[in-house]
């Protein structure tokens, strides 16, 4: 199924990113809660999850979707590390893990200061190999996708960093429900959105892996269904973030360029295809693809 992309609240800069005749193509459906989209540059496959359906999906280049892992610990965010290994924000497992070349699961983070972390939500890798992930408490509270142990032990819901040498730190602790996260193209700033506050926060990066104080980058607009959830950045620094009615496109200056009105409740998105100019969008029940004008920041 293909349909024209509807937009609203469009500023003049939106048309260069999203052409007026852009088509939204539905390429898979049938999930209960689609999430975690990521393009694999190495073989042209596309990956995503169904959190409630407890499945990691993989779509090979030119092929149809196949189950990669089920059950999946109700996996959520996916990405690849610099060695091409699949990294998983393990949600109900209360851990971050990766798939080794032999197919085994290897846990990278599950405790902080001797306490279980909350439930890793989304994940991104920096050029130096550091892994950053949001640690919202969703698997402790959300019905239908629960962890085995429902108790929150940490006294914050923040953003963690796994250093290239494997150390776990918590550079950001002031978020309520951290969800999507993405770096600017120069990696000088980390954006983190907050689903409870429906806002995008910006943190300046320091060389030692810590962050500066929070700056409010953008407050999402709209009363329609939809929250700050998945978020990605293109090579010009424009921010794509889920929100009321669909995907909100925000300029590097924090001003709204327009909203893409997506059928079904939008959960996340990922740039992909060989030119990184396709925006793959997950919703509760389907996976969509849309061609865009500016390539996205590449995934390793």
């Amino acid at each position: 199924m293909t349909q024209k992309v509807e937009t609203d609240r469009a500023a003049p800069g939106l048309a260069r990113l999203i052409a007026r005749e852009s088509q939204l193509e539905r390429i898979h459906e049938g999930m209960s809660f689609g999430e975690g989209p990521v393009w694999n540059r190495r073989d042209g496959s596309f990956w995503w999850v169904d959190i409630v359906g407890d499945t990691i999906w993989r779509r090979p280049r030119g092929g149809t979707a196949e189950v990669f892992m089920r059950p999946s610990t109700h996996a959520n965010g996916l990405t690849f590390d610099r060695e091409g290994r699949l990294l998983v924000a393990g949600w109900a497992s209360r851990s971050v893990w990766r798939i080794e070349p032999d197919g085994r699961r290897y846990t990278l983070a599950s405790e902080f200061g001797g306490r279980k972390i909350n439930s890793p939500n989304d994940i991104v890798v920096q050029s130096n190999g550091a892994i950053w992930f949001t640690d919202s408490p969703g698997a402790l509270y959300n019905p239908g996708m629960e962890a085995e142990d429902l108790q929150q032990y940490l006294d914050f819901q923040g953003v963690f960093r796994i250093g290239p040498e494997g150390s776990l730190t918590a550079p950001i602790r002031d978020t309520v429900y951290p969800n999507g996260l993405a770096f600017t193209p120069d990696e000088k700033t980390l954006y983190v959105n907050d689903s409870r506050l429906n806002e995008i926060r910006a943190y300046d990066m320091r060389a030692d892996g810590t962050c500066g104080p929070m700056r409010l980058f953008h407050k999402l607009e709209g009363t329609e269904p939809g929250i700050a959830d998945g978020m990605k950045v293109d090579r010009e620094g424009n921010v794509y973030c889920t929100g009321p009615a669909g995907v909100h496109v925000i300029g590097p200056d924090g001003k709204l360029l327009g909203r893409l009105l997506i059928p079904d409740h939008c959960t996340n998105m990922a740039f992909g295809d060989d030119d990184w100019r396709s925006l793959y969008i997950t919703t509760y029940h389907a996976l969509y693809r849309l061609r865009v004008g500016v390539p996205g920041v590449e995934v390793w």
Partner: protein, 269 residues
């Protein structure tokens, strides 16, 4: 009987709700609201020390609480639409949430019987539940029972046609189940693990229910507390000076009351 009431804890941020006596202290739940709703807590008041401490943080609007015969505390976690077991080791675990393939609505109150079974009622609620809205609330507002079959919790619906039930309690002999909803106070006869002979004992909208050893029912009615006969007849009415009451329970010789202002009050006769 006259009670002398005093505030012993609070006000805390958010209404105070459920009560459970652990033999030496009174546990009470605090219902945080808004973006930080998950940060609701269960607190414990120690009457000997006169101090309040955190029994369990991050309870996501757990309202009703009650101890089971296994020594664990059980809670009606409204925003997560489930009954949880607060395990003694500090963890928390899920009981069953689905019946006939559908998730029940928001539970508010629960009662544990001598066999370790959990009786609770659910409400269709305008509260924003946690997570994605992919499980629409059903129209039925019901009474359920959870029992353990080997290591698996099994959920059954026993009765429906309730109107926003807020409180549930068992008689001392466990032959009668009381439920308070917006239409009043209802009694059901428990027979072979089913409910029948539903009857309305009172038309007053009550909140907390607590049954004394003699079978009389203590109930919250706003700024009054009522002592009802098992028939529903009002035996005594006690004015409550702490504002809008939510729940009431005996702890030792004292009577404890939670309020919408987030306070715990103690009454002594």
């Amino acid at each position: 009987m006259a009670w002398r009431f005093e505030r012993v804890a609070g006000p805390f941020e958010g209404p105070a709700a459920g009560l459970a006596w652990d033999g030496a202290g009174m546990l009470f739940s605090i219902l945080s609201q808004g973006p930080r709703a998950g940060e609701g807590r269960i607190l414990r008041f120690d009457p000997k020390l006169g101090e309040t401490s955190v029994f369990r943080p991050f309870t996501n609007r757990t309202s009703g609480i009650a101890f089971g015969r296994d020594g664990a505390l059980y809670g009606a976690q409204e925003l997560s639409r489930r009954i949880v077991r607060f395990d003694p080791d500090g963890s928390a675990s899920l009981l069953a949430t689905h019946v006939d393939g559908r998730m029940h609505n928001l539970p508010t109150s629960l009662a544990l019987d001598s066999r370790g079974r959990v009786w609770f009622c659910d409400s269709k609620s305008p509260l924003r539940t946690s997570g994605p809205l992919i499980y629409p609330q059903g129209d039925l507002q019901s009474i359920f029972i959870l029992h353990k079959n080997n290591d698996t919790w099994v959920l059954r619906r026993l009765a429906s046609a309730l109107d926003t039930p807020r409180a549930i309690a068992l008689s001392p002999d466990e032959h009668t189940l009381y439920v308070a909803d917006r239409q009043g106070l209802h009694a059901f006869t428990i027979s072979d693990d089913t409910l029948d002979a539903r009857r309305r004992l009172s038309e007053r909208a009550l909140t907390g229910l607590n049954v004394r050893h003699d079978g009389c029912i203590l109930a919250c009615a706003g700024t009054s507390l009522l002592l009802l006969e098992a028939s529903g007849a009002v035996r005594e009415t006690w004015p409550f000076p702490g504002g809008e009451s939510v729940n009431c329970a005996f702890g030792g010789q004292d009577l404890y009351v939670t309020t919408t202002a987030g306070e715990l009050w103690r009454g002594r006769s």
